[in-house]
C-alpha cells in the first residue's frame, strides 16, 4: 500500500522549515523594527505619552507590590479618612427660605387727608388681579397672540393729591 503515512507527512512538513525569506531579511529586521517604533512614537498624542510615562513610573517603583505591605494599607486608610472628613466638614450651602412679604403699614388716612408721603411707599398693592381668568379668557381671541396688561397704574401718572 503506497500511501502517505504520518511519518512521511511529518518528513515532508519538516522540509517547510527551509522556506526562508530573502537573504538579508533577518539582518534588516531589527532596523525596520526600530524605524517603525520611532514612527509610532511620533504619531502618539501627548496624553498617551504622559500615560505611558506614568505607567513606566509605576512599574519602576513596583508599586503593585506595595499594596500588600501594611504601610501602603495605612496610607490608603489615612487618605480615605482625610477625604471623608473634608467632605463632611464642607459648609452647607446657604439655603434661602421664602419669607412672608413684609406688609407695609397703611397710613392712618389715605383718602380723606392730604399727605406728603410717597404713594409708592404708602400704598398697599393688592396682589389680587383686577380681572379674573375667566374674563381674560373671554377677551382672548383664538389665533391672536396673548396680550399682557399691567393691572396697576404707573406711579408717575398717579395723582397724589385728592380734592
Amino acid at each position: 500500500m503506497d500511501e502517505f503515512n504520518d511519518n512521511e507527512i511529518s518528513k515532508l512538513l519538516r522540509l517547510k522549515r527551509y522556506e526562508q525569506p530573502a537573504p538579508g531579511y533577518f539582518d534588516n529586521f531589527l532596523h525596520e523594527f526600530h524605524r517603525r517604533q520611532r514612527n509610532e512614537l511620533l504619531k502618539q498624542p501627548l496624553w498617551r505619552i504622559c500615560v505611558d510615562r506614568a505607567r513606566d513610573f509605576v512599574f519602576h517603583f513596583n508599586l503593585s507590590t506595595l499594596t500588600s505591605s501594611p504601610v501602603a494599607v495605612t496610607a490608603v486608610v489615612i487618605c480615605a479618612a482625610i477625604l471623608s472628613l473634608r467632605i463632611y466638614q464642607t459648609p452647607q450651602p446657604a439655603t434661602v427660605a421664602l419669607k412672608d412679604r413684609p406688609v407695609l403699614a397703611a397710613p392712618a388716612s389715605t383718602d380723606d387727608e392730604w399727605t406728603l408721603a410717597s404713594p409708592v411707599a404708602t400704598r398697599v398693592f393688592s396682589t389680587r388681579s383686577l380681572r379674573n381668568m375667566t374674563e381674560s379668557a373671554q377677551t382672548h381671541r383664538t389665533g391672536t397672540p396673548p396680550r399682557y396688561v399691567l393691572d396697576s397704574v404707573p406711579v408717575s401718572y398717579e395723582t397724589t393729591f385728592k380734592f
Binding site: D2, E3, E8, S10, K11, L12, L13, L15, Y25
Partner: protein, 198 residues
C-alpha cells in the same frame, strides 16, 4: 526546554524591564527566525509575515513590563505570535494564490532536504517542487487552528505540552487536532499521488 536558553531569556527580560532596550533587541534577534517560520507557515505570505512579526514584537515590547515570568518567555512570545496570527487570519480573506508557489527553488538543492527526501518512496516518485506545492495547498485547506498545531508540531518540532501551553488548551486537544489535521493532509496528498497531473 533548554534551561540555559530559559535563563538567558530571563536575564534579557529582566534587563528590558529595567529599561535596557538593547536587551530586547537581543530577544528580537534571537526569536525572529523561529517566529518567522511559525507565522509564515500559518499565513503562507512573506509580506503578511513581515508585518505581523513587527506587530508581534511591538506588542511584546509594550507588554513586557507586565511579564511576571509565570511562563517562560519562549512560551509567552509564541502565545502572542499565534494569537495575533490567528486574529489576523480571521480578518483576512483567504488570499489563496498568495505564496502557494513560494516554495523556494533553493530548497531542492539543500543538503538536508535531499537527505530527507531520499528515503521517502512516494516523494522520490513525485516531483519534489510539485509535491511541496501540494503540501502548501493542503496546509491552506486546514482550519487556522489546525494549521497552527501542525506548524508548531511538525515544522517547528515543538512537543505537545509546549503547544498546549501556547494555545492554552489541553494536551488532548492538541493531539486530537493533530490527528485530524494529519488525516486531512494524508487524504489530500494521496489524491495527488493517484492523480499527479491534475
Amino acid at each position: 526546554m533548554d534551561e540555559a536558553r530559559k535563563d538567558e531569556d530571563q536575564r534579557l527580560v529582566a534587563r528590558t524591564q529595567e529599561g535596557d532596550a538593547g536587551a530586547f533587541d537581543d530577544l528580537v534577534v534571537k526569536y525572529t527566525p523561529r517566529l518567522y517560520g511559525l507565522v509564515y507557515n500559518m499565513t503562507s505570505n512573506h509580506e503578511d509575515t513581515n508585518d505581523l512579526l513587527q506587530d508581534i514584537f511591538a506588542k511584546a515590547y509594550k507588554a513586557i513590563r507586565g511579564f511576571r515570568g509565570k511562563s517562560s518567555f519562549y512560551t509567552w512570545i509564541h502565545s502572542i505570535a499565534v494569537n495575533m496570527t490567528l486574529n489576523f487570519l480571521k480578518k483576512r480573506s483567504r488570499r489563496y494564490s498568495l505564496s502557494l508557489d513560494d516554495v523556494d527553488a533553493s530548497i531542492q538543492n539543500d543538503k538536508e532536504f535531499i537527505e530527507a527526501t531520499a528515503s521517502s518512496s512516494p516523494v522520490r516518485e513525485a516531483d519534489l517542487s510539485e509535491l511541496q506545492k501540494r503540501l502548501n495547498e493542503a496546509m491552506m485547506k486546514l482550519s487556522d487552528e489546525h494549521r497552527a498545531v501542525v506548524t508548531m508540531f511538525h515544522i517547528q518540532g515543538m512537543p505537545h505540552a509546549e503547544i498546549s501551553k501556547i494555545l492554552n488548551v489541553s494536551e488532548g486537544t492538541v493531539r486530537s487536532r493533530l490527528f485530524y489535521a494529519n488525516r486531512q493532509l494524508q487524504n489530500y496528498l494521496d489524491e495527488f499521488r493517484k492523480n499527479p497531473v491534475t
